[in-house]
Amino acid sequence: MSLTFAVQHHYNGFDLDIELQLETEGITALFGPSGCGKSTLLRLLAGLEPAQQGRIHFHGECWQDSQTGTVLPANRRDIGLVFQDARLFPHLSVQDNLSFSAPYRRGGMPLDASLLIDQLQLAPLLLQKPDTLSGGQKQRVALARALLSRPRLLLLDEPLSALDRESRRLIMDLIEQLQQRHALPIIYVTHAVDEVLRLADHLVCLQQGKVIAEGDPLQLFGQQGTLPQLGNRALLRGRVAQLDIQDRMSAISCGRDLPPIWIAGTDHAQDTTVTLSLQAEDIALSLQPLSGTSLQNQLPVELVSIDQTNSDRPWVQVRFGDHLLPVSISHRALTQLELRPGQQLWALIKSIAVEH
């Protein structure tokens, strides 16, 4: 998509001032603490509230420009918005809520309603009235309603907050499929790191109404600067170099002349690129390679820096090829192994989460 905007909006006690060019196809995650302005930004983009200052352009068409005073009304923007509170129409059954947008001409791709209803497990609820739905059911209906409104741009405001892990996993798959199949641009507001890891192609971090970091999740994760939630994790992108069908494992090469990283499963075809997420807590260090353990990955690394500000768990950075990995170890290990920068070590990696 190409959604470019620069908006300023003021409430007493809160100022929002955001300028972004979102060129990326795919899913942009809006990430930030409570009250940082995520929902407000969505409201402004959707045109439910015109931004007090600024301009919004989507695919070249002007949605708002406070210079010229043009404001395109919300219903003409063809966005699908899932509100944080579901906002189902209380006088309509689930069924009718879902088909509410049917009469309107909209720019986006029509989906197969019955399929979606199955995927979101709404079939048994179709005749219920919203006030008889559970929190999670409301949220699923709201999502379905937005998806079925044939939007050209999807704005999701914490769409999974009220759902259990299973449903969340299912729906995240669904969202990703949709995005890929229909090239539907999505802006996805969330608090949850795992949702970012799972879905985000592009990440925007907000704080108090300002953008404090923006870009490829691979860059943003793992560096100390940004939000603490992101610091303790490194994302490595690599391609599937080899498949071990018998042991059901795949070798991921993260750069030439680097040993591959082995992950469980063979779901990803040869040469597809995948993103690995390594958590600092999941990496151990060893002075020499080990044998006779179930540890499949022993990576040659060089110790870069040691940071002891965190009293309990010293923070170590090691380089694997040109990837930086954060490692969190104990003081005792630090002294026992007499670790110092420049040292050559082996990184023992137990489990590796494959994000996508």
Binding site: P73, G80, F83, F89, R105
Partner: protein, 228 residues
């Protein structure tokens, strides 16, 4: 005792007047009430108060002033005469205008309070799903304010049926053209024709209550649907 032809004419006239009045009031009152409900202008209290004024004056007196206004050189009569070449007083149009003015508050006020209680979030949701202002109103506001509309219609209609002071004054009680049921009934009472008065009143009540019952039952069905 059968209804006289006059009574039937009066009944017919009354129905026409009441339905037309209610209809026009809905058409005029709804946008007005909406505006009152949503504007943040300081001075909106003035139209708000003015709406209720017609109620303050005794009908006959209101009618009296309307009569003055309707006069060929009156503030209403003059332009009307200029437009149509005919007068307003003692015509059905005149009655209509009178009734509309007099029943205005019964329609505007319930609607306004309904609109003000409405959850704006739902309207936003509807807009974001592609509904224009108008279809938003049709598909969200009207059903959610159903009861307010019902109130407006009931009060407006019933009051127009029963009201006679204004009508008597500006209508001139002319059988067939401006003699509505309420006046006929009033006449019967004034001329001590009790039997016919009873008969007429009974009929009117019976008729109205069946009308109302119908209305409310319909509403109830709807509601039953809405609240599971």
């Amino acid at each position: 005792m059968l209804p006289t032809e006059q009574d039937l004419a009066a009944l017919w006239l009354t129905l026409q007047l009441a339905s037309l009045t209610t209809l026009i009031l809905l058409l005029l009152g709804t946008p007005f009430a909406w505006w009152l409900a949503h504007t943040h202008r300081r001075w909106k209290v003035i139209p708000e108060a003015l709406v209720a004024l017609p109620l303050i004056l005794p009908p006959t007196v209101l009618g009296f002033y309307l009569l003055l206004a309707f006069a060929p050189d009156g503030i209403l009569g003059a332009p009307w005469h200029w437009l149509t070449g005919s007068g307003l007083a003692f015509t059905f149009t005149g009655l209509l205008i009178g009734s509309i003015l007099y029943s205005l508050p019964f329609v505007v006020q319930p609607l306004q309070s309904g609109f003000e209680q409405l959850d704006q979030g739902l309207l936003q949701a509807a807009r974001s799903l592609g509904a224009s202002r108008l279809s938003c109103f049709r598909r969200i506001v009207i059903p959610l304010c159903r009861r307010s509309f019902l109130t407006a219609i009931t009060l407006g209609f019933a009051h127009t049926v029963g009201e006679f002071g204004v009508v008597l004054m500006i209508g001139g009680n002319i059988p067939g053209s401006t003699q509505v049921l309420s006046i006929a009934l009033y006449d019967h009472v004034e001329t001590l024709e009790y039997a016919r008065a009873h008969w007429l009143a009974g009929g009117l009540l019976l008729f109205s209550i069946s009308l109302l019952l119908l209305l409310y039952s319909l509403n109830r069905r709807q509601q039953a649907e809405i609240i599971r």
